[in-house]
């Protein structure tokens, strides 16, 4: 498995590393100068997108690996771990830049840490869902479907937000409820993320085993 991960990391380095450094530098400037904090978290999400991009045009490698004594489960596991490692770069970035920002602004570090880990878990979960889909239907189609899904989610959120009253009382209530149950919600979310990752791994292994290359 180590070799599979190493290969993807070399591939990532060759394709995206310089681009990621540039984006990281840009976001750093924007975050510190204009307090655009969301960019820190957005970079974590972006590393997930970069990691998924490694699947494009990797048929030659897959064909090569399929002739080696490597099981489909190992292939799927290596892909998920590689994605986690690449998203780890985004997490490290967010922790460092966010840490500097909280130090400057005096905002609570715990909220920042919570956001980083929740978004990282969400990005990894999303990739775990996307991996078997991308293997089955291709990266582009999967990405477009996901975008559509996001549009629906945000539209639904906007719709229910608007229905919650002009004074936003419903939203405030929901926020208060979330704040009161944050630890439980975080634990449930992490448990769900682990389950989704396990299911994604299982489905990806199944697709790898049946996929013709």
């Amino acid at each position: 498995m180590k070799g599979l991960i190493l290969y993807d990391l070399y591939h990532f380095k060759a394709l995206y590393w310089k681009n990621l450094l540039l984006v990281g530098a840009l976001y750093l400037v924007l975050t510190l100068a204009m307090r655009m904090t969301f960019l820190i978290y957005f970079l974590i999400w972006m590393t997930g997108v970069y990691a998924m991009g490694l699947l494009s045009g990797s048929e030659g490698w897959e064909r090569f690996v399929r002739a080696l004594p490597v099981s489909a489960q190992t292939m799927a596991g290596a892909k998920l771990l590689t994605m986690a490692i690449i998203e780890g770069f985004g997490v490290v970035y967010a922790l460092v830049v966010g840490g500097i920002l909280t130090w400057i602004t005096g905002e609570p570090l715990s909220e920042h840490l919570m956001s980083v880990f929740m978004i990282a878990a969400l990005a990894l979960t999303m990739n775990a869902v996307m991996l078997p889909c991308a293997l089955k239907w291709g990266v582009e189609r999967t990405r477009n479907t996901l975008l559509l899904f996001c549009v629906v989610i945000f539209a639904a959120a906007a719709f229910f937000g608007a229905r919650s009253g002009e004074d936003g009382a419903g939203l405030a209530q929901a926020q208060a409820w979330f704040a009161g149950h944050l630890a439980g919600i975080a634990a449930a979310f992490i448990a769900l993320a682990v389950m989704v990752c396990a299911a994604g791994w299982y489905a990806a292994a199944h697709v790898y085993a049946r996929r013709e290359v």
Binding site: M1, K2, G3, L4, I5, L6, Y7, Y10, H11, K13, A14, L15, S58, G60, W61, R63, F64, V65, R66, A67, L68, P69, V70, S71, A209, R210, E212, V213
Partner: protein, 284 residues
């Protein structure tokens, strides 16, 4: 004698093409050359043998096991044409990757092969010439000490010198009599040099798998007037062609044909000749 590949009745159907009930055997100590026109199904057959495609019918045993069995794959190395998957790596990084995947990986052997092939260093594989890429892929395959090598068009696009070097590498590999090679190639002169057997795949159908020497002795090209070819017993004529400069035919049992037509021009049939006649056959 142990069979490293036993394919029996292998069938794979695609839209517009199918591999039809193919039988193929590769035993230890032999080199089998797989020939066939473009689109005849050579790569599909190799992929089916490796379990990369699901066959519609038939069975494959690879090293005596199912092709998906990691114990079988541990003893097999495949090199596919134009596999550019190492493009972003240098030769050292290839070793690092392979070491992390294959337990049998032999660093010393890999280094020895790189040195012998005159490749290596920090140059990225994407900047290699085609010959260098083939050599690197082969070094990566041989550093695993496989019992069976599957090569898909390894010499395609190489100059004669590089092809000669490659053939020498394969001959050296075959010094161990438990090793075997299944090699598909369009360059039949290479196969004439190293193959013990020739398997001819035509439009998804295995026309024959025969001992090379036996095949060469059993077939010949005869050149004369079409009328005289037509007078030959049909069982002797495999295929015939007519042209502005006379007619020719691929025949079996050259001795019998020679006796029937002592004055006809008769040449030994090369694998290229066999392919040309079979592909454009107008007689059985």
């Amino acid at each position: 004698m142990e069979n490293w590949i036993e394919a029996c009745g292998l069938t794979k159907r695609y839209k517009g093409f199918s591999l039809q009930s193919v039988d193929l055997t590769v035993h230890a100590g032999s080199v089998v050359g797989l020939v066939g026109e473009n689109g005849a199904g050579k790569t599909t057959l190799l992929r089916a043998i490796l379990g990369m495609v699901r066959v519609d019918a038939g069975t494959v045993r690879l090293m005596g096991r199912a092709p998906q069995d990691p114990r079988a794959r541990a003893q097999v190395a495949a090199v596919f044409e134009e596999n550019a998957c190492f493009a972003w790596l240098d030769a050292f990084q290839v070793a690092r990757v392979m070491r992390g995947i294959v337990p049998e990986w032999d660093d010393a052997r890999y280094a020895e092969l790189l040195e012998a092939f005159g490749i290596g260093g920090r140059k990225l594989v994407k900047d290699y010439s085609k010959g260098m890429r083939v050599k690197l892929n082969l070094a990566a395959a041989l550093a695993r000490h496989p019992r069976l090598l599957l090569l898909d068009e390894p010499t395609s696009g190489l100059d004669p010198v590089a092809r000669g070097e490659l053939m020498d590498i394969l001959l050296a590999y075959m010094q161990d009599e438990r090793n075997a090679i299944l090699v598909s190639s369009h360059i039949t002169s290479d196969l004439e040099r190293i193959a013990d057997q020739i398997a001819y795949l035509h439009a998804g159908e295995m026309l024959f798998q025969r001992d090379k020497l036996e095949l060469m002795e059993d077939m010949a090209v005869v050149r004369c007037a079409m009328q005289r070819i037509d007078e030959l017993p049909p069982e002797l004529v495999i295929a015939k062609r007519g042209g502005a400069f006379g007619a020719s035919a691929l025949v079996r049992q050259p001795e019998r044909v020679r006796a029937l037509m002592p004055d006809a021009v008769m040449d030994a049939a090369s694998i290229d000749d066999m392919m040309r006649y079979y592909a454009g056959r107008d007689a059985e």
